[in-house]
Symmetry: C2
Subunit: 394 residues, 2 copies
């Protein structure tokens, strides 16, 4: 054992352009310095109320059950499947990446029958493929898809699948961990019944909470469960008691994280969601243009690429880990590697929330161009930045 | 919906003398300002390693599987029961308060058979009562008790129950949410196989993480499970992959909370656990003496009272909620009310971690004396403070 107490916290100031966490606005960091009060303190109750009101705006929902689950985005996923599935249920899960696979794994652990509708990692799920299963299965409890697949960089269109779920009497569950506050998300308008997200992507808050919302149809399904929810910690019937007017004690809320989330959501509200989504779109388009101008190939299906996380194929002959390590150690820039079957094949470059700036687009393109040319890939130096500038200058 | 974005975070500076959260040392708050880095960043890996080393010292264990679960203390409880119980198992749970009841509820949701060994709320569980069940049941998978029952203020002796669990081949599981870093806890020496805690009590870190440890016997039991763990988020086989040398990605760790925990554990290490436990003992004893000198009655069983959380009976004729509200609004002091059958009958006064100071002992006694006399209870003014001072001055 090292003399652990001798390590003084002194993290490097990374430019976080990976799949999350993203960089944090100074106001969000300052919020964590606010004095901790009790979890039932009248002051904290006012912060909870405001946080919930801001979350509703962010999700574009009027759902009464809207609050942050006390865990990371993965805890939001687990809360969704654990509460709305039980033995005897059938779930259809769209799987075209790691987080689709995780949803299927979560759904299985609830004891439900799980039918996976698959697509290539990087492509979207075809609504027709989901309809085929909806027709074939007697009764489907829910249909679940990932809006922004963090492992592939693809953006799943939602409205046609939502319509199908409704037509066949199934709940529609959507993972918006990577899309919320970066791409358009409209929970009520799009007929999403259950939705969860994470804080460390486009919301630009430290990881630790999972924004969650569910509508009345979903709550009716919850009320008619035959078995108790597996999880006590994530049991929505109990959690909603604390996050409602009754404030019935369930567990101690992560006070400082709720402060941080409140401030991050206030920043989103001040920018305006329309402007924020446009910002992510502009910077994503600039990055795409720059990477393609350098002669690199984007991985995700054309027409369905995320603006907040770009996947790009690693050129032949370039060492994945070595290049990412050089970016990190020489330039303090974090980008992500591929996961599962895409490990060693793609990089994932995030432009999320506070990290989505014109400066970061130009920076990552210029550093990549330099390092790639040193690593033997013949990028036409300067082309990437020039192409990005053209988009940025409109 | 209020215009939520207009609320600026500006919490009152409470003196937190309730059942948690406790006040935070300024260094712990500052740690949360450290820049967020990626959850697989080499720097964060060094922080994880140090945090785990410090946690081992705090738990007094050599257990390889030692890390903070990404949720509050309740998530630690759930991780314990969800991983080490499954259908077909039998668990003995000591229940003499709300958190014992919760353990039983958590154990039930794992599908196991649960036998509760009960005692009055405020008393400890008799080892003989546990042995009776150990004899009666064919095969018991685990025996679980709460070390410091936050709802009653009683401290459960552990060593005899540990010996019995071993004698009958059962795992010994202990909740140290309220005791760790305030009372003596010696995981290895006392033969505790599975142990979890929370950060917002005697560790004096904001809520949001659950320190957790399990030894090799527990891991062997985990490896021989017949069914998958209900929870994916809290599946220890998966979590230990991330918190071991392989650093296999599971979920994004709550970076800023881990920074805070690291700093809080470093402070504990600097103080020294012996000195820290003695500090809690001294201040707890002074508070007990002061309250009794005022003519109040302590609730928990004599000889088994917590030093970190004192339960005291509310005198007849005094309005519970009104007095606590006056303490909070007039003097910024939070103390806790009773839970369950003790609601309206006791107060819970915490002296945990950074909140456990001589100043706070004298402060809460003097404020209580004043308010109680105003509310019609004839405390002999000044007696409480005098009695406490006598203990504090040795």
């Amino acid at each position: 054992m090292s003399d652990a107490s001798r390590l003084t916290l002194n993290p490097p100031s990374r430019i976080l352009l990976g799949p999350g966490p993203s960089n944090i606005h100074p106001r969000v960091q300052m919020a964590m310095l606010a004095p901790v009060v009790g979890h039932l303190d009248p002051y904290f109750v006012s912060v909870m109320e405001d946080t919930v009101a801001l979350l509703r705006r962010t999700f574009r929902t009027q759902n009464k059950l809207t609050f942050p689950v006390s865990g990371t985005g993965s805890a939001g996923m687990e809360a969704a499947f654990d509460n709305f599935l039980e033995p005897g249920d059938t779930a259809i899960i769209g799987v075209s990446g790691l987080f689709g696979e995780r949803m299927a794994e979560n759904a299985l652990r609830s004891g439900a029958k799980v039918v996976q509708v698959k697509a290539e990692w990087g492509n979207i799920i075809a609504p027709e493929a989901i309809e085929t299963v909806l027709k074939a299965e007697k009764k489907v409890k829910l249909v679940a898809v990932v809006h922004a697949e963090t492992s592939t960089g693809a953006l799943q269109p939602l409205q046609e699948i939502s319509r199908l779920a409704k037509q066949y009497g199934a709940l529609f569950l959507v993972d918006t961990v990577t899309s919320l506050a970066g791409h358009e998300v409209a929970v009520d308008e799009w007929g999403i019944d259950i939705c969860y997200s994470g804080t460390q992507k486009c919301i630009s808050c430290p990881p630790g909470l999972a924004p969650f919302t569910a509508n009345d149809q979903a709550l009716a399904a919850l009320a008619s469960r035959k078995n108790k929810v597996n999880s006590w910690y994530l049991d929505l019937s109990l959690l909603s008691g604390y996050w409602s007017e009754s404030r019935f004690y369930h567990h101690t809320a992560p006070i400082s994280m709720v402060y941080a989330l409140h401030e991050a959501l206030a920043l989103i509200d001040e920018e305006g969601m329309g402007a924020r989504v446009a910002r992510h779109k502009r910077h994503g388009a600039a990055l795409h243009a720059g990477l393609e101008a350098m002669g690199l190939k984007l991985h995700a299906q054309a027409g369905h690429r995320l603006n907040v996380l770009t996947t790009v194929q690693i050129p032949a002959g370039v060492d994945d880990a070595r290049l990412r390590k050089r970016l990190l150690t020489e330039y303090n820039i974090e980008i992500g590697g591929g996961l599962g079957p895409l490990k060693g094949k793609i990089w994932r470059i995030g432009l999320m929330g506070h990290s989505s700036t014109a400066e970061n687009v130009l920076l990552v393109l210029s550093r990549l161009e330099k390092l790639l040319s040193e690593e033997g890939f013949k990028a036409k130096a300067g082309d990437g930045v020039a192409a990005a500038l053209k988009v940025l200058n409109g």
